[in-house]
Amino acid sequence: MATRPVRPRRFPLLRHDWPFEFGLILFGVITFYPLLFIISTSLKSNTQFYQSFWGPTFPFHFSNYNVAFDRIFRSILNSVVYSSLTIIVVAALASASGFVFARFKFPGKQALFYLFISLMMVPGVLTLAPRFVLVRSLHLLNQPLVLIVPWASSGIVLATWLMRSYFESLPQELFDAAHVDGASDVAVFRLIAVPLARPMIATIAITSLINTWNDLIWPLVTISNREWMPLAQALIQFSSSFETDWGPLFAGYVLASIPLLIVFTFALRQFVSGLTAGALKA
């Protein structure tokens, strides 16, 4: 899924790459300019910002990062915990369900499967308001569970579909051989299917991570206690309390981007395939 390296065209029209490189550099500069601007401003005091808007100024004010860190660290931690738990639930339930749908025959299988995948067509805006009424009547408001459980539930749909396709693509002989050797279905699942599906599980994990990390609306309606706010929601408050305190404000933006940057650095391929897989659900 879009992870292979870019193959060069065998019949290039131009002898040199530089016209294309030039275009790409232009694209790159306008893409990264705002980011560099944010980073350079995050190290300025307000006086420096108003005196010299464009370039970096010395000395750097690293204390901006302390200020921002104190305000948003808790919410970054919250988000890490919420996203991790969601990913674990999604990966566990989706790989088990996907395995069952892919490798067994049982009455009602088609109907049950449609119960899963037809939700791919149900958009979040439709369920937003009734879901809120539901979690309120379950007394879940203002607790971490109110985020994790519905996030997991939404994530399972696409993940089950991906896992089923993956398990279906594995050759039957593999499973037959294991059965001949006396392995139970559970053992086959645990020792053969799941280890083989690791790349797909990674893809699912990244998709869930990006979706939960970026969700603002659901926390906004279900969490009002600052202590439990995830990053996106806390940033809204943060940005209004540091409205014109540019240094700490932008330092906060930079800090907020670091967790995904780390994931991106260590899981390049999965990151790219996770992005692409997300396309399949509306």
């Binding site: 390296p5 065209r9 049982f106 009455p107 809120f132 559970v186 609306i217 995904l260 991106f264 399949l280």
Partner: protein
Amino acid sequence: MADLAASEPSELTALPPRKQTSVVRRIIRSRNLYLVLLPALTLLLVFDWYPAASALYNSFYAWNGGKLHKFIGLENYAYMLQDRAFTTSLRNLVFFVGFRVIFQTVFPFIAAELIVNLKNANWAYRWKLIFVIPMVVPYLVMVLIWRFIYSPQMGLLNQILELVGLQSWTHAWLSDPAFAMWAIGFVRFPWLPTLQFLILLGGLQSIPPEVLESSQIDGAGLLRRIRHIDIPMIMGQIKLVVILTAIFMTQRFDLFLVLTDGGPGYATMVPALHLYHSAFNFLEFGYASAIGVVLFIIMLTLTVINLRYVQTEEGV
């Protein structure tokens, strides 16, 4: 542990006359399979199917989310037609979706063309990754960065305009009704939409070299090659990108909520945001549900078009 299901081998040998009992027996024999599906199924029924059904059902009710719950037939839907916030929001949605679809297809396509024509494969791969990097910025931070870019005094856009001597062009972009919708349309502008970019790049990469070779033998230049080979060959991906962008943008309202909250007036109101306001500011959960149903129908239409005409030709 025992086998989850022993039903598989018996499939071929099962005798037709005893079908009635055999279904029951097969269900009993597969009970462990149902048990495995149960947790996921429970979650989906409670947190997805029930709210979806509830939205459909309550769209025919006047409902404040609590005790007040009265059947009013199609009144919610009828009210939409005279609700100026809603009719304006539909018009804004058409503009926003159309605008986003165009530039979120054109720019990634140009970038993908530039990359795919590089002879140096390493650099091509690096460029691809470089354009994915902005994805690490949380969506909300991206929106807040653009709020800064558009801000009237110290905003990057106005500062750039002043720097190049175009003071008269500066505006309070997000609070000027004439510009607010355009400004939101341009949010994230120079950053390539990652998904669309990856899909188009994947398409261009998969064009067989023989086709390119023959076009070169026929003497086609770069622009003719793009027009007569590249674009027709990746029509499937282009359609997919268009449909996906339209589906995403129809339900996206967090950026409107953060940047303008629908204002000034209703200048940047979109249906999903109006739904949000109706439910959570005015406690009109019935009306909000009805708006949700309308959005659902719009997106369902797009999805059906997608499945019927787009994804059959070209998988992701």
